[in-house]
């Protein structure tokens, strides 16, 4: 069983939800990323989404774009991201790592080389924002064959047929984008999310994580009542942005612990 599957199975057995923080590799600097990932795990992260910086992050808001710009200015690259995962694996063999980014850095490396090197580095899944299922059949099947879960997005605007496309192409979990804007946007329609998730879970037959716009423990807890996992990104980047370097890891840890506690207090068993 893959690390991702076993995390979800374990949490389900415990009646808990998975917590998935997102950080950009190389933000604020390459040497800080592993300590921040370790801090996230200490604070209660179940899976880490590690952003691969890209020069043109069209689907991200200003917060994650700034993180990408800082990382690229520091010389971050796909090869270095894989190096970060390798060194994280030296101290943590359990926590799944999902790379999240855009198609071009993967294509520049070569999709086969990417799958091979990502698996060797200890990456568990990959979410390519600008690869909808119909444009990446070859990549998705190569990833699955190589042992990498291809993770896809669903949005409030997605049709039922889309659910099926994504369920067929993807594995690991589905990432439900909880609002219509870009990452880090302010408004989130909780009622809409809570109404939609049960239908999606039933239809796709795999765990559903919800992200985009989740900024505090209370919101996380409400989402946790209906979803298998909660994804938090921009809010963590802001924490890193606003901390003195030496405190960033500790502040991220304490922020994520607050979310963890609220999430664990969530009542109700998911079917």
């Amino acid at each position: 069983m893959s690390r991702i599957d076993s995390v979800f199975q374990q949490r389900r057995t415990e009646g808990r939800r998975a917590l998935i923080p997102f950080v950009t590799a190389g933000d604020p600097s390459a040497d800080m990323t592993v300590p921040i990932m370790q801090a996230l795990v200490r604070g209660g992260a179940d899976i880490i989404e590690l952003g691969v910086p890209f020069s043109d992050p069209m689907a991200d808001g200003p917060t994650i774009q700034r993180a990408s710009e800082r990382a690229l200015a520091g010389g971050m690259s796909m090869r270095k991201v894989l190096g970060i995962v390798r060194s994280f694996r030296e101290s943590d063999a359990e926590t799944p790592v999902v790379l999240m980014g855009y198609a071009n850095p993967i294509e520049a490396m070569g999709t086969e080389a990417f799958v091979e090197q990502a698996v060797a580095a200890g990456v568990d899944g990959v979410l390519v924002v600008d690869y909808p299922p119909e444009e990446c059949r070859t990549f998705a099947s190569a990833a699955r064959q190589g042992g990498l879960d291809p993770i896809f997005l669903l949005a409030p605007t997605s049709s039922d047929e889309r659910f099926d496309d994504v369920a067929q192409a993807g594995s690991g979990y589905i990432y439900y984008v909880s609002l219509k804007g870009v990452t880090g946007s302010a408004t989130l329609d909780l009622d809409e999310v809570c109404a939609r998730i049960p239908r999606i879970r039933e239809r796709v037959g795999m765990p559903v994580g919800v992200g985009f716009g989740i900024r505090d423990a209370q919101t996380a807890a409400r989402i946790g009542a209906v979803a298998d996992a909660v994804v938090i990104g921009s809010r963590i980047i802001e924490e890193i942005e606003n901390s003195p370097r030496e405190e960033a890891a500790a502040r991220v840890e304490s922020f994520i612990r607050g979310i963890r506690e609220a999430l664990d207090a969530t009542e109700g068993v998911l079917k």
């Binding site: 069209m58 689907a59 796909m78 490396m109 600008d130 909808p132 949005a155 984008v177 804007g181």
Partner: protein, 402 residues
């Protein structure tokens, strides 16, 4: 690669061979599907197409003439150069053709708000113009660097009632404006139509913009026999994203003896790395919703481009051009800033026409090619826009301050 005799491109999912496609985040998929269906309906609707043609005739002033640049041809001493005068269109460039088409489509789809990205400002001005014409709200995203370079066009857009948003992220040029416009669209998709100005982006944009711009080449096919007694030996157009080039090339694709030449911006020289010549010096990759040739580093990051003309300052190119290059139906060359400037000045002095700096790249290649050919050969250059907007840039280069 071989090209079919009847080029039915793109395929149903928007691919031109390995290029094109729909590489966007899931949040945009339904919007693109809605657009694809609406365009499919409208392009087959005689009433819609009649209204489009009516607007082109009475609002834009089409057909635009073809002009024989006799003095300049004589000076160069070789082939005869003909100019397709898109600079005489309302708003001063070819961009308006496409904007009319997309604005009519937006109205059909019930979207009261249009957004656009712009580099040189021509597409922004054209969008602001049609938005005023049809009573739509208009927001134009423009790189902060371009806002500085194209102050007159920024003012023009504001006069027309548009909101211009300077984009401060990334390299603060066209590609960053495009990123920002996409973000707006993702957020406001329920009431907003994104008018893309070039033959790039996710399907159906490359096809749709090409179709709306094809009026340029269609007119040429009718006009050239009257003007020159025959079709041209070469059709030459500048290529940034590539909309004016696709517009004049596409109707000529089936005319096998007409050579099609796209001219990219070599900036300070291809060897300096400071240029915008994606087809000449780039590699295929994925950006802004399509697979195409891109200027990128080894790690797949998009690199900053350079050109004297803001409208060519873009690291990608329309996917159909990528396909035409690979299959050999069109050839792509490049022209430096200084070669383009020379052609700019020559056309001013010898023909009394002030061309856009973008267009000057196509002219510079014509000036290079003409002397190598006999004087009964015919070159047709798409004079895609007028140069009024570039006064400031050219004056600055000559050390003149207004």
């Amino acid at each position: 690669m071989q090209m079919a005799d009847s080029p039915a491109m793109p395929d149903a999912s928007g691919h031109f061979g390995p290029y094109g496609g729909v590489f966007v985040a899931e949040t945009l998929i339904p919007a693109i599907e809605e657009l694809r269906q609406a365009y499919e309906t409208c392009r087959n609707d005689p009433e819609f197409m009649a209204e489009f043609r009516y607007e082109l005739k009475h609002y834009v002033g089409r057909p635009s003439p073809i002009y024989h640049a006799k003095r300049w041809s004589e000076l160069l001493g070789g082939a005869q150069i003909y100019l397709k005068r898109e600079d005489l269109n309302h708003t001063g460039a070819h961009k308006v053709n496409n904007c009319i088409g997309q604005a009519l489509l937006a109205r059909k789809m019930g979207k009261p708000r249009v957004i656009a990205e712009t580099g040189a400002g021509q597409h922004g001005v054209a969008t602001a113009t049609v938005a005023a014409r049809y009573g739509m709200e208009c927001v134009v995203y423009m790189g902060a660097e371009d806002v500085r370079r194209q102050a007159a066009n920024v003012y023009r857009m504001k006069l027309l009632g548009a909101t211009v948003v300077p984009v401060e992220s990334g390299s603060r040029t066209l590609k960053d404006a495009l990123n920002e416009a996409m973000r707006d669209w993702v957020t406001n998709v329920h009431n907003t139509f994104y008018i893309i100005g070039t033959v790039a982006g996710p399907h159906p944009y490359p096809m749709m913009v090409r179709d709306f711009q094809s009026v340029i080449g269609e007119e040429c096919i009718e006009q050239m026999p009257e003007m020159a007694g025959r079709q041209p030996d070469y059709v030459i157009a500048c290529v940034g994203g590539g909309s004016n080039a696709m517009g004049i090339f596409h109707p000529y694709l089936g005319h096998r003896d007409v050579r099609l030449v796209g001219v990219e911006a070599a900036g300070e020289g291809i060897e300096t790395g400071r240029h915008s010549a994606s087809l000449t010096a780039g590699r295929p990759g994925v950006l802004h919703g399509n697979r195409t040739y891109l200027l990128q580093n080894e790690d797949g990051q998009i690199i900053e481009t350079h050109s004297i003309s803001a409208g060519l300052d873009y690291p990608g190119v329309g996917p159909e051009h990528a396909w035409l290059k690979d299959c050999g139906r069109a050839e792509y060359v490049s022209v430096t800033d200084s070669e383009a400037l020379q052609a700019f000045h020559d056309l001013c002095r010898y023909e009394g026409i002030i061309p856009a700096l973008e267009t000057s790249h196509a002219l510079a290649h014509a000036a290079r090619l003409a002397p190598t050919l006999a004087n009964d050969r015919v070159l047709l250059v798409n004079l895609s826009g007028r140069g009024d907007k570039d006064m400031h840039t050219v004056a600055e280069l000559s050390g003149i301050q207004f």
